[in-house]
Symmetry: C3
Subunit: 343 residues, 3 copies
C-alpha cells in the first residue's frame, strides 16, 4: 500500500516518532558532514503551482542530499491544466515520470485530489489555507531537538503560540501534532479577530492538554519553554477584515524586552518564516538576531533532515542510509550564519 | 558527423527500428526496476521557450534516468534574445555549456535554425505548428509494444485517427512514421474543416497504405486495432475559424459506448494528451478510465524509454547501458496509477 | 574564514593567478573529455532575481561538471521578499539548504548585503550596474589562454576596448583585473557620452599602464593584440540619454574590413555577449563568424572552467580533482560549433 503525506490528521504518534527518529539519524548528512547516495537514480517531481522559493528549495535540497535528482515546476499556471486537463490526468501522467511528487497549490484539497489518482508517493507542500504537514513536522522536530539539548521534555512543557492564530495554518497543524503527545500547557495570544478556531481548541483539550487564552502579551506569564510567533497572513483576510485591519499593535510583539521580562535563558523562540521585517509589521523583532534563544534559523535548517526523513520513509530507504554514507570532502563552515549562536 | 533529431522526415525505417529496439532495452530502467549511470557527468540543456510541463519533465526525467544532470530554461522570453541576440549566437553559446539540447519554441523552423550552428545534438521538442518527433516515436513505440503484447503486427492493422487532423501535429508526424512500414488500413474521421491535409494523405497512399475518410464516428467500422484520438487545437485556429467554431458534436466522441459498439477486447485507445476533460469539450471521454483498452497512460509512460533511447543513440551510449545497470533499492509501486489495468 | 566572490576589487594578483591555474587544470573536464565527482552530494543555490539564462546555465553546468546538484530560482520576484522578508533572513535561510550560492540581482550592493549574513560561499552573478566578477575572470582567462597559444604575453600587450565603456560593467571589471598585471597599452574608443569613467582610467594609469583615448575606430592603430567590443547598454541609459540617442554610427563597428585594415593574423576579437545582431545595432559584425580571430565563442566556453575554478577554490576541492577524474564515455563533437576554427 502506498503512503502519501497529505495532512497531519493522518499521522499517528508512532509514525511521527518514527519520522523524528529517522530525521535524527540523517542529521550528519543534513549538516553536510556526510553524504549518501541511497536515492541515486530516483527523480523527484517538485510541482509548485504557487510560489514558495523557501519550501521548494528545501524539498529539492533534501532530495538531492539523499542522492536523487529533482525536476522543478514553478509558476501559477500549468500549461496542460489551462487546456482543460483534469488533476486526475496530470497526476497519472507525472507519476509515470517521477518516483515521488511534492505539490504546492493555492486551492485547498487539490493536493489530496491529485494524490487519489496515483500510487507514487505524494507530499503536500501546502494547499492554500489547507495543510502543510512538513512544516508542522519540522516545527515539532525543532522543539524535540532543542528540548533534548536543554534536558527538557515535551510532557508538561509550557508553549506560547502568538500572532495570527486564525489563518496561520502552521500553528493549526503544529497544535494537532503536539496534541498527540503527553499533556502540556499551551497559551494562545492573538490580536482581536485572529484567534485560534474553536474546533482546534476543543480537539486539543479533549486530548488532555491545558489551553489558556490571553488578550495580550502585556500580561503575566510563568516561565515559557517555547514561544511560537507567526506573521499576520493579510493575504488570507476577507475583504471586510482587510478594510478594518489597522495593523498589529506593539503589545503583540515578541522582542528582546519581552524575552527578558518573561523568559528564562533556555526559552526558545520559533517562527515558521518568512517574518515581515518592515518596521510597521510588528512581526518577530530582529533585535533578537544573534540571541541563542532565537531558534528560527535552527528551525528552518531542520527542514532538511525532516524532509529527508519524509522521503526516506515514503520510499522505504531509511534503513539503507546507515550503510551508504561517506564523509564530505568540501569546505563546510563551522557556523552557517554569521550570527549563529553556540548551542 | 553529428546527428540531431529535428523532424520525422529525416528518419529512415532502420533508424526508427533501432530507436524502438533501444527503448525496449532500457525499459527496466524506465520502469524503475534498475538504474544506470552511463551519462554521469553529462549535462542536458532543456530549453523551453514555450510552456509544456509534461514534455519538459519527460525529457528531464529521461536524461536523469541515464545518470545525467539537467538544466531547465522555461518561459516565453529568453533574456539575451530580447537584446537582439541571434539564434546562431544562442545556439553556439549554449553548446559550450551542455552535451545535448532539447528545444521547444513557438515558431516553426526555429529549432532547425538553432541546430544549424552547433555540433552538439539538438532534439526538437516541438516548434509551434511544426514538428514534435519524440511524440511520434513514442506513439509508434506504444502501438508496437501493445501489438507485441496482443500478438498482433503492424502489417495489415486497422487504425482510426480522429479529432483535429488538420492542426494536430502529432497525427501528422505519426502517420508519416507509420507510412515507413508495411501496408496498413488507416481511417480518418474529423469534424468538418479539420480534415487531414491532402499532401499527407497522398504521401501515405503513395507508400502503399489504404486511407479511408469518413464524416462521422456514427457509422459502421470493421474491428479496429487502434483508435488514436486528439484534442481540438483551438489555439491554432485562424480568426475566422474561431468565430465560426461551435464546438465538436457528440458524434465525434470516443467513449465507452463507442468502444462497445465498434471495438474488440483488444482494441487500444490512444491520445497524445493533454485531453480536455471539461464536459463541453467532447474530447476522449473519462468514462473509459480504468478500462484496459485505454492505453493513454501507458502511452505517456512510454515517453521515458523513447526519450532515453533518443539520448542514448545521439550520445552513442546505447551499448554501454547493458553493462552499467543495477537494481533499484527504493519503493516502487506495482501499478503507477490507481486505475491502471493488468495488461 | 569564509570567502565569497563579490567584486574584483577584493582580488589580489595571487588569487587571480591561482584561479587561472585551477581553470587550466579543469580544462579536460570543462571540455568533456573527462568527468569528476568531487562535489557529489553538494548542492548549489543558483538565485537569479534578474533573468540571465546564459550566466545561470553556465554556473549551473560548471557545478554539475564538478559532480554537484543545482537548485535554480529564477524570476524578478522572490515570494518571501514580497512578504517583507529581509535579505538577512533570506540569506540565512538559503544557507541552511545549500553549500554555495550564486546570486544575481538587479540592485547594486544587494549581493554583498546578502553575503554579510552567511558563512556559505556567495558568488556575485551580477548586481545590476555593479559587479560581475566571474565575467571579468573569464575574460582575463581568455586573453591569457589565447596569448599562451600565440606565444604572446600580457606585459606590453596592446588592447583596444570599444563600445559602451560607460555602462558596460564587464569592461570596468576587466580593466581593474588587467591593471593588477605588468604594464600594457590600452586604447579606449567609445561613442560620445559613453566614455570610460575617469576614476577607472586614473586607477589603471596609477598602476603604470598606458591609456589612450580615441574618438573613433576610423583612425590609425598600431597592430592590436586584443579587441574587446561591447554592446550598447541602452537599458541602463538615463531618460535624457535615451531621448537623445540616435544609435551608434558605422565608424564604431568592428567588422571584417576593420580587422583587415588594423589587425594582424593573431589579433583576437572578444565580446562579453550577448551581441545585438540586428543590423541597426552596429554591434560586433557577424561577418567575422568563422574567422579564427573571432574569439567570442572560445571566450564564452571559458565560462565553464573559470566557474569550476571559482567553485573548486571556494569549496576547497581544487587539489582533489587531480585524483578524481575519469574519461567521458559519450559522444563529444570535435568542434562544438559548426563554424569553430582550428586554433
Amino acid at each position: 500500500m502506498t503512503s502519501h503525506l497529505l495532512s497531519v490528521d493522518s499521522l499517528s504518534r508512532e509514525r511521527v516518532e518514527h519520522l523524528l527518529r529517522v530525521a535524527r539519524r540523517v542529521e550528519p548528512i543534513a549538516q553536510r558532514r556526510q553524504i549518501t547516495r541511497v536515492l541515486e537514480g530516483a527523480v523527484l517531481g517538485n510541482l509548485f503551482f504557487e510560489a514558495s522559493t523557501r519550501t521548494r528549495v528545501s524539498f529539492n535540497a533534501a532530495f538531492c542530499r539523499l542522492g536523487g535528482s529533482v525536476c522543478d515546476t514553478t509558476g501559477f499556471t500549468f500549461s496542460s491544466m489551462a487546456k482543460g486537463e483534469s488533476l486526475y490526468d496530470t497526476s497519472r501522467v507525472m507519476s509515470g515520470y517521477v518516483d515521488a511528487i511534492v505539490m504546492r497549490h493555492p486551492e485547498q484539497g487539490s493536493v489530496s485530489e491529485f494524490a487519489q489518482a496515483t500510487n507514487v508517493p505524494v507530499i503536500n507542500g501546502g494547499d492554500g489555507p489547507g495543510e502543510h504537514p512538513s512544516q508542522a513536522l519540522l516545527d515539532l522536530y525543532t522543539i524535540d531537538k532543542e528540548f533534548s539539548r536543554l534536558g527538557k521534555s515535551l510532557a508538561g512543557a509550557h508553549l506560547l503560540l502568538t500572532g495570527d492564530l486564525k489563518f496561520g495554518r502552521t500553528v493549526h497543524s503544529l497544535i494537532k501534532l503536539l496534541s498527540l503527545f503527553d499533556p502540556m500547557h499551551i497559551t494562545l495570544v492573538s490580536p482581536p479577530g485572529l484567534e485560534m478556531p474553536d474546533h482546534l481548541i476543543d480537539l486539543v483539550v479533549s486530548r488532555g492538554h491545558r489551553i489558556e487564552q490571553r488578550q495580550s502579551l502585556a500580561s503575566d506569564f510563568r516561565d515559557l519553554d517555547v514561544i511560537y510567533t507567526t506573521r499576520i497572513q493579510k493575504e488570507r483576510f476577507t475583504e471586510e477584515m482587510s478594510e478594518n485591519f489597522t495593523g498589529v499593535s506593539r503589545e503583540f510583539i515578541v522582542d528582546r524586552a519581552f524575552m527578558n521580562r518573561h523568559c528564562a535563558q533556555d526559552t526558545i523562540v520559533m517562527h515558521p518564516l518568512p517574518r515581515d521585517s518592515r518596521p510597521e509589521a510588528n512581526d518577530l523583532d530582529p533585535d533578537l538576531n544573534g540571541d541563542p534563544r532565537l531558534a528560527i534559523f535552527r528551525q528552518t535548517d531542520n527542514g532538511i533532515p525532516i524532509r529527508m526523513a519524509i522521503f526516506a520513509t515514503l520510499l522505504g530507504v531509511e534503513e539503507l542510509i546507515e550503510r551508504d554514507r561517506r564523509d564530505v570532502r568540501w569546505f563546510v563552515p563551522e557556523k552557517i550564519g554569521v550570527d549563529d549562536a553556540d548551542c
